[in-house]
């Protein structure tokens, strides 16, 4: 053990002469692994010792692990996605066959595809939970406004990755689900119309597929990468937020605990992901039949509240009006930090705002159920 450590130490020393390892590590800390700034002029070990000696807020609290979890899930998506992209062919004629080949003929291809699919769902859920926690703990008050905005944009960009990915499968269920979603988008002023325009029109053509492919494997991952960077850079720069009554402790212990908490959660999440991928493989439907919509072709779940909202209002309410409400609400959530300008207080002091948020969430849930029933 001691031997190995010194050997690793020797390798590090060798590298440190040739590269600024501290600089590299410091860059990586911008992705959430370690949330303190390092002195990049010092060798890695002394820089770390110095940073860990500083007292830190007891950031081993569970919800704080969610941040790095989203980043790791994103990396998992990139890993599984790259494997899928080795066999995937982005043309309407070949897409379905290539996905079928992945899940049927390639060794463990089914597993990679299922993990990619469920990983996507999990990532969106965790990003959403994280936004809820930010809201509850008011982690959008100055100077953390941008953390909220970026967190929201992360959520939106990830749903886009999910959406474009499902279209790429090009089986009948996803084909029709996407066709119906594009219809919903087309009713949203400005943003929705822009999306439909970028998608190449209201129905899925070769153009749509190629654009979605490009967006899915290049543009959106890059955008997500930049957003994650900005987000964790901000967190590192501002330091972790404090809750009332939370104390600072010796950094080394806190960090050690944080890493262990992370490992435990990561193991559980990974195990759940694998289990769901094996036990609940999402079915792979027939190739799209352009003349008949298969049963169960609904918009993806994160669009159902919007769909439910459109459906529950009477028909005489003009569509552009309904669409505008949805867009305004989205924009409102995005710029929440600039709307809720009350003094930064703990949850107990902002009961009104929290009740309002909870009601919105409940309404969204009910609309989602309504949308599911009527889709």
């Amino acid at each position: 053990m001691g031997d190995a450590r010194t050997r690793a130490g020797r390798v590090l020393d060798w590298l440190e002469v040739r590269l600024n390892i501290t600089e590299i590590f410091s860059f990586l800390t911008n992705f959430g692994l370690f949330t303190a700034e390092l002195d990049t002029k010092k060798p890695l070990r002394s820089a770390l010792d110095e940073a860990l000696a500083r007292p830190m807020p007891s950031y081993a609290r569970w919800p704080r692990v969610l941040g790095i979890l989203t980043m790791l899930l994103f990396l998992l998506q990139c890993l599984t996605g790259t494997l899928l992209a080795l066999y995937y062919r982005p043309t309407p004629e070949a897409a379905y066959d290539s996905v079928r080949m992945i899940v049927r003929d390639v060794t463990l291809g089914w597993f990679v595809q299922q993990v990619h699919f469920w990983g996507s769902a999990l990532l969106i859920v965790i990003l959403l939970i994280r936004l809820l926690r930010f809201f509850y703990d008011a982690i959008y008050k100055p100077p953390r406004e941008l953390l909220w905005v970026i967190g929201f944009l992360l959520f939106i960009a990830t749903t886009h990755a999910d959406f474009t990915g499902k279209v790429m499968t090009f089986d009948s269920r996803n084909y029709w689900s996407a066709t119906r979603s594009l219809e919903i988008f087309s009713h949203l002023p400005v943003v929705g119309s822009l999306f439909v325009f970028l998608a190449g029109g209201g129905d899925l053509s070769e153009v749509t597929l190629v654009r979605f492919y490009l967006a899915h494997i290049f543009i959106l991952p890059t955008v997500l990468f930049i957003l994650f960077y900005l987000h964790f850079q901000g967190v590192r720069h501002l330091g972790l937020s404090h809750r009332e009554g939370e104390q600072s402790e010796g950094g080394r212990l806190v960090y050690h605990r944080y890493l262990l908490n992370l490992s435990i959660l990561l193991t559980v999440v990974f195990a759940l992901l694998v289990t769901v991928a094996v036990l609940l493989p999402h079915p792979f439907a027939a190739p799209p039949d352009l003349l008949s919509t298969p049963a169960g072709a609904r918009p993806p779940w994160y669009l159902l509240p919007v769909y439910g909202f459109f459906e529950i209002l009477p028909r005489w309410v003009p569509m552009p009006f309904k669409g505008s409400i949805v867009v305004l609400l989205g924009v409102g959530i995005c710029i929440l930090p600039f709307l809720d300008r009350s003094a930064p207080v703990q949850p107990s002091g902002r009961r009104g705002v929290i009740i309002l948020g909870a009601m919105l969430l409940l309404i969204a849930l009910l609309l989602g159920v309504y949308g599911y029933r009527h889709a």
Binding site: Q247, F270, V274, T275
Partner: protein, 406 residues
């Protein structure tokens, strides 16, 4: 009258000018007065072959003075008995018909038919050429609008043969068209669009129309159902039916209202001759069971294949093998006419063995998927061990740290 007539004349004159002077002299000026007939004539096949009114009706087509036009060789409307020879004057002319590859024995066949024979005796009810082909608007058989197009034949024949007033005078089935429309042949023709399915003329002949005699029915049916016929000829029914003076195929299948040949034919028709408890009925039940068993087997294998395809597993090979099994099932139906359990089993047995093989192999493939779940159990074992270790480490950390756990 005139104000109604004038625009029509205008249209016809316009048409004449438009259609070019080429045919104007051939067709003549009859249409100036008989504009409605002219419109019908223009829609038919004769017009495009340079045929004109004068060829059937005589007269002078060059004049629009009625006296001159209707003078000379003018025949007016030909009588019913004159029609067949009139048509035949061209249609039996080998030289004239050669370019169209049309048969020239139609008039001879017509004269030999029941229609022709009764016409010769002065019967006013029977069909002459124009009753089936139309008068002025005669379209070729290939034209879907033609009254003799295969899809319209049952209606055309039915105009007389399903007219109760006419048919009551003769010893003929009362409504054969309606029976035909309910038959498996009509379903094949109209629903599946199979133009090889028989219309009336396929069994009864075209111009030589005559009912097939009792002995001829199996010859007519056997033209298409050759295999069924071969097995039937080997069966004990062949002699038994002939001895009783019963028609071969129609005794079980009826003539015009032929039902689809499913298992029920055995169930319903055998009883009409065979006593309950007889060996014959025993054989029928056995044959029925053989076919049903094979069919159920194939259907179950197909379901299993569909299930596997949804996983998805590779099933193309199984699909093509089941296709073979389906073919054997289809082949088994004509073999039923042998009324021999052994012959039927020879064919259904092949379908059964294919479907059994396929079922076993596909089931094996599906069962192999279970390993994924067994793998999961092992996976969770390691996960739980890892979590336990991590948790121990985590809380050990807390304890060993002095003053921690605030």
């Amino acid at each position: 009258m005139r104000s109604v007539g004038r625009p029509r004349i205008g249209v016809v004159v316009g048409l004449l000018l438009l259609s070019g002077a080429v045919h104007a002299s051939d067709v003549g000026r009859c249409g100036v007065c008989h504009s409605d007939i002219r419109v019908q004539f223009d829609a038919g096949i004769h017009k495009s072959e340079g045929f004109a009114c004068v060829n059937c009706h005589g007269g002078n087509p060059a004049s629009d003075d009625m006296k001159i036009a209707h003078g000379g060789s003018f025949k007016g409307v030909p009588g019913r008995r004159e029609i067949p020879p009139l048509c035949a004057s061209c249609h039996s002319n080998i030289e004239l018909m050669k370019p169209y590859n049309l048969a020239t024995d139609q008039y001879a066949l017509y004269q030999s038919s029941q229609h022709g024979r009764l016409l010769a005796q002065g019967n006013p009810d029977v069909a002459v050429c124009t009753d089936c082909h139309g008068t002025h608007e005669i379209r070729p058989r290939s034209d879907p609008q033609s009254s003799v197009n295969i899809t319209n034949i049952p209606k055309t024949c039915g105009r007389c043969h399903s007219d109760a007033k006419i048919i009551a005078k003769y010893k003929l089935p009362s409504d054969p068209s309606a029976e035909y429309y309910g038959s498996v042949h009509a379903a094949a023709l109209y629903k599946a669009g199979n133009l090889n399915s028989p219309d009336c003329s396929r069994c009864h002949g075209v111009h030589g129309a005559a009912p097939p005699g009792v002995g001829d029915v199996s010859k007519v049916c056997g033209q298409c159902h050759a295999t069924a016929r071969r097995y039937f000829d080997m069966s004990p029914h062949k002699e038994a039916l002939a001895a009783g003076g019963n028609p071969e195929c129609a005794s079980c299948h009826s003539n015009h209202a032929i039902a689809p040949a499913d298992d029920k034919v055995l169930e319903t028709t055998c009883h009409s001759c065979h006593e309950p408890g007889s060996t014959a009925l025993g054989v029928a039940t056995q044959i029925e069971a053989e076919i049903a068993r094979a069919r159920v087997g194939v259907r179950e294998a197909e379901k299993l294949v569909e299930e596997a395809e949804e996983v998805p597993l590779e099933v193309d090979d199984y699909r093509s093998r089941l296709e073979d099994a389906r073919t054997y099932l289809t082949e088994a139906l004509p073999v039923v006419h042998s009324f021999s359990v052994k012959e039927v089993r020879d064919v259904t047995g092949r379908a059964t063995s294919i479907s059994e093989e396929v079922s076993v192999e596909v089931q094996e493939k599906i069962d192999r998927l279970r390993w994924r779940r067994y793998g999961l159990i092992i996976f969770w074992f390691y996960i739980l061990v890892t979590i336990a270790l991590l948790v121990r480490w985590r809380y050990g950390l807390e304890k060993s740290a002095p003053g921690a756990g605030a």
